[in-house]
């Protein structure tokens, strides 16, 4: 078949035009209104979805359609079938886990990133994506007063990971390979990782992935005597013991704002222990890092100058839509040595001449979205002063809630509040066998199944604890007041029924 015949074959076919600018305009305007209306009505939904497992399979067909359907029919299905199965993280009555902030600026950044839809694995595939990321992470690093070694002018720099899980994994790999290059790769089974028992499960998962032997993961006990922070003496003793039996301590992860109770590990003292022992020191400030943009909170990361890597989640409490997890390292080459590949099909002059950053070598995946746009938009459209007041407002609301709990003698605040999380519980009647754990679990179930608020829980020193985490962008004082009334009413009902 000659060229001209093929030519005709191409022309004859009635071909889908999936990216028509005017159709995009028309349909996306509709979607904007749909989303804006969602936010207007968000308080009408139960915060925690009340559907049963398997609900959606009964509502959708068994296979994809052969013919196109209209946008309206899809939006109708979103309203009728999808939204009832959504747990509304952006509801002002969402107080579970930690927040995952949306904002107008973050949303606009997501839109623009999806609009440009480029894949920024190497500098050449969109120089702006790489360079804006470097610049904005320098901005944020300066705002947090991170030491200069974490900024891009030296040997370090920042990179946006998807999540804190990926952040701790990439630095664990960098640390693993750094020590294995020195002692030989068959020493993997001797490598030891340290953290408190309050560290996030992401560390355990990173160890599983990296092949660290589970029996070499030192999960050091932290208790109420230190408000669940890791004691540097405990760390020091564990390291000495491991060295004495021929093991190789190589990685410490400390947390600023633990998931259970926002405990703050003492970075300076821990960092000195790590440094003495040649251990990579990672700081996980996934939640509380955002708070440290306020001068009055900056002291919580004092000692970060001892760290090799520092991570916070802009998608938690910094108004940047999920996902956006900035990570800073002092030695970018350690990351690159673990994570780089250099296949022929990706070679290009700028990369080969070592003139540019190729972020593919700082992360697990190859492809990457233009995530710095949304962080840049948040910083510019709000400005640091507003962002500081945003954080302070949530901390004040948490103080207010803590005060409410303290005034009701049926409850106790379990650990001192540090940021915007209040850990509390309903006190059980005397001689309750399990110390009130079932009572509090029942209280959690009752408030969550009311649909009025959504909270989550933890266990500290064997006690089942309710976590009230303030940080959704729409939460105002009235929501906190109303939430407290839900707790009081459900507690009264439960106590009556005993």
């Amino acid at each position: 078949m000659g060229v001209s015949e093929l030519d005709h074959a191409v022309c004859r076919e009635n071909v889908l035009k999936p990216m028509d600018a005017e159709q995009l305009r028309e349909h996306a305007h509709k979607m904007v209104d749909f989303i804006a209306d969602y936010y207007k009505t968000i308080e009408d939904f139960p915060v925690l979805s009340q559907v049963e497992p398997g609900y959606l399979r009964k509502l959708l067909p068994d296979s994809a359609p052969d013919k196109p359907e209209s946008l309206q029919s899809v939006l109708d299905d979103v309203q009728a079938k999808i939204l009832p199965g959504v747990t509304h993280w952006q509801s002002p009555n969402y107080f579970a886990y930690f927040p995952s902030n949306s904002s107008v600026a973050g949303f606009l950044g997501e839109m623009l990133s999806a609009g440009i839809n480029m894949v920024g694995f190497s500098w050449i595939t969109s120089p702006a994506a790489t360079e804006l990321e470097t610049i904005v992470l320098d901005w944020l690093g300066k705002t947090l007063k991170l030491p200069e070694e974490f900024l891009s002018a030296g040997q370090g720099g920042g990179v946006i990971q998807g999540t804190a899980s990926e952040a701790v994994l990439v630095v664990l790999l960098a640390a693993r390979d750094r020590v294995l290059r020195r002692v030989g790769k068959n020493a993997l089974e001797k490598l030891v990782v340290y953290s408190s028992d309050q560290a996030h499960s992401a560390l355990q998962k990173a160890c599983q992935i990296a092949g660290i032997h589970p029996e070499n993961c030192r999960v050091l006990k932290a208790d109420s005597s230190t408000n669940y922070a890791l004691n540097p003496d405990t760390l020091n003793q564990a390291i000495s013991r491991d060295i004495s039996i021929g093991l190789l301590p190589f990685f410490l992860s400390a947390t600023v704002g633990t998931t259970s109770s926002t405990a703050v590990d003492p970075l300076l003292a821990l960092g000195k222990v790590a440094k003495c022992n040649g251990i990579w020191f990672h700081v996980d400030a996934a939640y509380a890092g955002s708070a440290c943009i306020c001068p009055e909170n900056r002291h919580y990361i004092d000692g970060v100058e001892e760290a090799d890597s520092f991570n916070m989640n802009a998608h938690k409490w910094f108004l940047t839509n999920f996902d956006c997890s900035p990570l800073w390292v002092k030695d970018r080459n350690a990351l690159i040595q673990s994570l780089s590949t250099n296949p022929e099909f990706l070679k290009n002059k700028a990369s080969q001449a070592n003139m540019v950053v190729d972020y593919k070598d700082w992360q697990i995946p190859l492809g990457r979205r233009f995530r710095s746009l949304k962080l840049w938009m948040v910083l510019r459209l709000y400005g640091l002063e507003n962002l500081q007041s945003y954080i302070r407002n949530h901390i004040n609301l948490a103080k207010y809630f803590e005060g409410l709990v303290l005034e009701d003698k049926r409850f106790e605040v379990v650990t001192p509040r540090t940021f915007s999380l209040v850990c509390f519980r309903l006190l059980p009647p005397d001689n309750t066998e399990d110390g009130g754990n079932k009572l509090n679990q029942d209280l959690l179930d009752a408030v969550n199944s009311s649909g009025k608020i959504f909270i989550s829980h933890t266990v500290l020193s064997g006690k089942y604890i309710l976590r009230f985490a303030i940080g959704a962008p729409l939460t105002e004082e009235a929501h906190v007041t109303a939430a407290w009334k839900v707790f009081q009413d459900e507690a009264s009902a439960l106590l009556r029924s005993l």
Copy 2:
């Protein structure tokens, strides 16, 4: 300080309201118009950004602003400072690497996902996100005629990974841990991985991460005698050799549509070798998987019934904005055994009762976006018939381009075209020392720096090859014709200058 005082303190502060539904509506409508206008003018930009390394640092301030700025000032900066640094993957004149499709439907799905902004790590955190993902991956699995074991009704199922890199990593980990549970974890150094030398670098990176020893990664030679497909005999011999020296073969990755030349490994024969030897068999159809929704192309994945896992990128050639990389496995428990954690703060009744899927245990990160929305929208707003015609159109355009190359005797087509990639090169004058490699590199530089089109390259059997990959959603026949004229003109100029 009592509750009432705190109350006042909260009220007094002038607090940012970052998620106001009417501001979202107003600003997002502006952003829609900005993006629609971008698509209207996309052909006015050089496809490959022509900026110099470091260009953006000169244009932006050194630190984040204290005060808020207007959306208009940010959009002005996007136009003046960001877009010149963008390489326009959605341009109809983009023919590099593989495509990364945007579409109206994919874009709407991204918008909605960013609007809801929930984090679906466990079923309870948004049942709809988990359930829609399972359903849509069953739809797509049926469309591809994957064996039933890959669907969710049995022991297997689908999950959306961010990228093919993460897909191959999670199955490599599952396979690693499955064999180590059997033979003991100190056997890591004996594990052997197999692929052809045409496999994507993501496999090498996954091995680095998983701690597979580099000398145990068998990169088996594939050459023009098999059109760069892996020969099952070569595999068989390598496995036998490794077993004879006490090593443990455990993982094979085959590719349907290799990155360099879209070679297709013979799945059926390779799968039988894998099965005989108890090896996990992964199929990477990142690029070409999409083409297999057309009945006439389905045979390229014949033999997938022998595989343990199968992956394609919906974000490449399936109109689903980046990132969206569906992975199917036959044994979901193998994934879960490698990747699950179960911290107290994530426990909930549905998960504890084992009634639901928690996708956090099928992937590297904990958090995850509502990515199934965009794939669902693509399938519904276009329908399978349109999606098939979309694929066929690109394949026809590639045939057309191949015909153009074949008609110009100064060029050669290097490998037979299979899908929508044409591998070709300019023939050098006789007795050119390097066989024409520099000539073709110069041709690539010339066409790319013209800004008119963007292509990339590879090396096959020592020859530098130009890759012309058709698949951008806006590409029409006229763009292909014009692109060919760019090659011809630049080739004439180069040959004249010799």
